[in-house]
Subunit: 206 residues, 2 copies
């Protein structure tokens, strides 16, 4: 397809498509003349992914490039890809100290996570903040949170529509960013519900 | 106790205690002379609460006042108090449209939540964002999220150390703000774990 059709099919404005081409975020098409090139479905998919990273994920171009690089490194790079995507997503985390508490939690859970993942630093910051106000969570409270997190993550992973790495990455970006406020809103609603009905109440979900 | 001891006991600087008194966030002590007053444990507790609202919750003084007002309205005001606290906490939500989708979800769950709660508007925004990128969650996915939210909220409510309304409010502020990043960090860690080990993996929590 020509670049105008690529723009129409992907829903990305022509000027933006040209910008991504110039920035190297989209591979050049196959030249068919001095001024024209031919694009295919792979271009449409990549364009859709770049747009999700930029618009939904709010990623800077350098971060988009890092995600695409780890994506192009091959299917074995899946974990690295997911980690790279998570690292590139907001919020930024401080890495100025070793996530000692978070690693201890991770060891208890037996989860396989990169020991320098940004999520681990974020968990460390949360644990430190709770400790500082005298609210260090007891192991059962923490385990309940970990089980809930694993349960929603399992549903997230099961919802990935296709096994291709690009789809997984696109899902992680949109799913991570857009399901987070959903989860937090539901938690606040559940707190309000339990304050009215008492901690034993289940609604229709328990 | 004198105001200096009130400051020492609560850990709140003297200048800040005086500021809260001037702003009416702390009730005056019982006058013992023209320049001195006597304070008691209720003042210590209130001071601790105001500090949690301001420092941990990041609330503006007007929001602190709203929380204290609903707190002083009596024990029957518990739900309203929780709602007021949630409404005062970041992030601010847009209320420019009816939360139609969120109310439908609420009806399915059978939860008791104020139909104009900020959490409901936040859920609406999240559902709308997902719809806009073609990722409307299916009912099972949503139910998994609601069950996880109810499970952590139940642990939160069970962890409230004392039944007094002030303690509950203080807990909701610190617990809501400080457990949110903890939950999100654990979810990202769980996603990474499942991408390595496959969706059936449980670690030691499943």
């Amino acid at each position: 397809m020509r670049i105008s059709e690529l723009s129409r099919t992907s829903g990305v404005p022509l000027a933006t498509v040209k910008f991504y081409l110039r920035e190297g975020l989209l591979a050049p098409g196959r030249p068919t003349s001095a001024t024209q090139a031919e694009y295919d479905d792979a271009h449409v998919r990549r364009l859709r992914l770049v747009r999700a990273l930029v618009e939904t994920g709010g990623l800077a171009l350098a971060s988009v490039r890092a995600v695409l690089d780890s994506l192009d490194a091959g299917p074995q790079a899946n974990l690295k890809t997911i980690g790279t995507v998570h690292d590139a997503l907001p919020p930024a985390v401080r890495r100025d100290r070793e996530p000692v508490r978070a690693r201890a939690v991770l060891a208890t859970l037996g989860w396989h996570v990169d020991p320098d993942a940004s999520a681990l630093h974020r968990l460390e910051a949360a644990l430190e903040a709770l400790r500082s106000v005298g609210l260090t969570p007891d192991p059962d409270h923490l385990r309940t949170y970990a089980e809930a997190a694993l349960s929603v993550a399992r549903a997230d992973v099961a919802a990935v529509p296709d096994a291709s790495t690009a789809d997984v990455v696109e899902f992680v970006v949109t799913g991570t960013m857009l399901y987070e406020p959903l989860l937090l809103a539901l938690r606040r609603m559940a707190q309000q519900h339990l304050f009215v009905t008492g901690p034993g109440a289940a609604g229709r979900t328990g």
